[in-house]
Amino acid sequence: MGCREYKYTEEVLKYVRFKYDRIDIRQELNEHIEDMLEFAPEMNEEETEAYIRENMGDAEALGKELDKEHKPLLGWIWRISRAMAMVIAVLCIPTVINMALLSVYTAHNVIVGYDGWRSKEGIEYTVETNIKGKIDDIYILVDGVDKYENGKMVLKYKTIHNPFGKSAGWTFSFGNFYDEFGTRYYGGGGSGGGYVSYQVADINDFNPDAQKLIIDYNYNGRIFYAEIPLEWEAVK
């Protein structure tokens, strides 16, 4: 519902320096005046203005009082911060969607575990380990090794990326493995990605006389060293 224009209101508004607030103040004052005039006797325009002044007080004093409440500096900070908050909220939408999808994917990885990356068929023996380490912002947990009927070995390890760390979110995987005789094995495999990544490394043609699988990651000063004694337990 539109309000009438009152000279009194316009005079009050002259003293409010933060112009962006004038619209709201105008509406509030006019509504207040309308309410007040509802119970007033019938009057012409001049009489109405005089009645308003009489009941609302000095326009200059009210205007200066309102100006104190609506300081331009605070007004500008409020206005800019509100706009920035809205922009950031809108910008976050794709990131939030991306994070949600990544979280769902991570949850899926956790549920599926290593079974998504290596077949359970044909596993004869296994060794469980609980080796932990950290490289930059990535926590590494080596969970064990499976040995298949055909002699192939599969190393199972999790990598957990700290999303609040300093590093950008690149993946991590071990490349090479060794036995105690120094023979090197390339460990190709697969990984799940996401914040928690279940990874497997296939190690083929491992020396049957070797008793240890050695992880010796040493790259640009990042070191992860672990010896896994291959004390096999039969898988039921």
Binding site: I88, T95, W170, F172, Y219
Partner: protein
């Protein structure tokens, strides 16, 4: 809620959500921050010094850091949302070390940025000379372009803008020679 309280809430929101937004979307305040975050993500460095911020087309920039006397860190970045920076999409050189233990110089060509850059660990190095060879699918073999020279700075770093011949070719820096201030050859490699 009073205007003052609302403003405080907005500012807190901007700081907290802005931080999370930057963290989870890979955006940073400076190109150097993108360089260091990706160095840690790729498990090398961080660079002890940023040697070059080479402006490319549009709002892209090739940031080159010195990891040590024998290793460069090369990360392409691009402006994002006017005031922030993020990793440029596509392949990145990342860690660029000297290939072999007895190498004393390394040089690369960035065809996206049309610049040759490299590093030598020879103490008295003042200049380098090198060829750039290129090949595209229509060419039977690699073809050498002219010989080029670049000054070596106190960090052993050198770079030289060099326009590419065509969009399709891939390029290599070859036959590098390093000279001291008297023009004496200190080292030469032919790879």
């Amino acid at each position: 809620m009073s205007r003052k309280k609302a403003t405080i809430c907005y500012i807190i929101f901007i700081i907290v959500v802005g931080f999370l937004f930057m963290k989870f979307s890979g955006r940073y305040f400076t190109p150097e921050q993108v360089l260091h975050a990706n160095e840690l993500g790729l498990h090398y460095g961080p660079s002890e010094k940023v040697l070059l911020k080479y402006k490319g087309k549009d709002s892209n920039m090739l940031v080159i850091g010195k990891v040590d006397d024998r290793t460069l860190s090369v990360i392409p970045v691009k402006r994002s949302l006017f005031v922030l920076w993020k990793l440029e999409s596509g392949g990145i050189p990342g860690c660029v070390p000297m290939r072999y233990e007895d190498d004393r110089v390394v040089g690369n060509y960035s065809s996206n940025y049309e610049v040759v850059y490299g590093l030598t660990d020879l103490e008295n190095a003042e200049r380098v000379k090198f060829y750039v060879e290129h090949k595209n699918n229509d060419m039977p073999d690699f073809e050498k372009r002219g010989i080029y020279e670049a000054d070596v700075d106190e960090d052993g770093f050198f770079y030289m803008p060099l326009e590419k011949v065509d969009e399709e070719s891939w390029y290599y820096v070859i036959e590098m020679a390093v000279y001291d201030e008297n023009g004496r050859e200190l080292y030469k490699t032919e790879w």
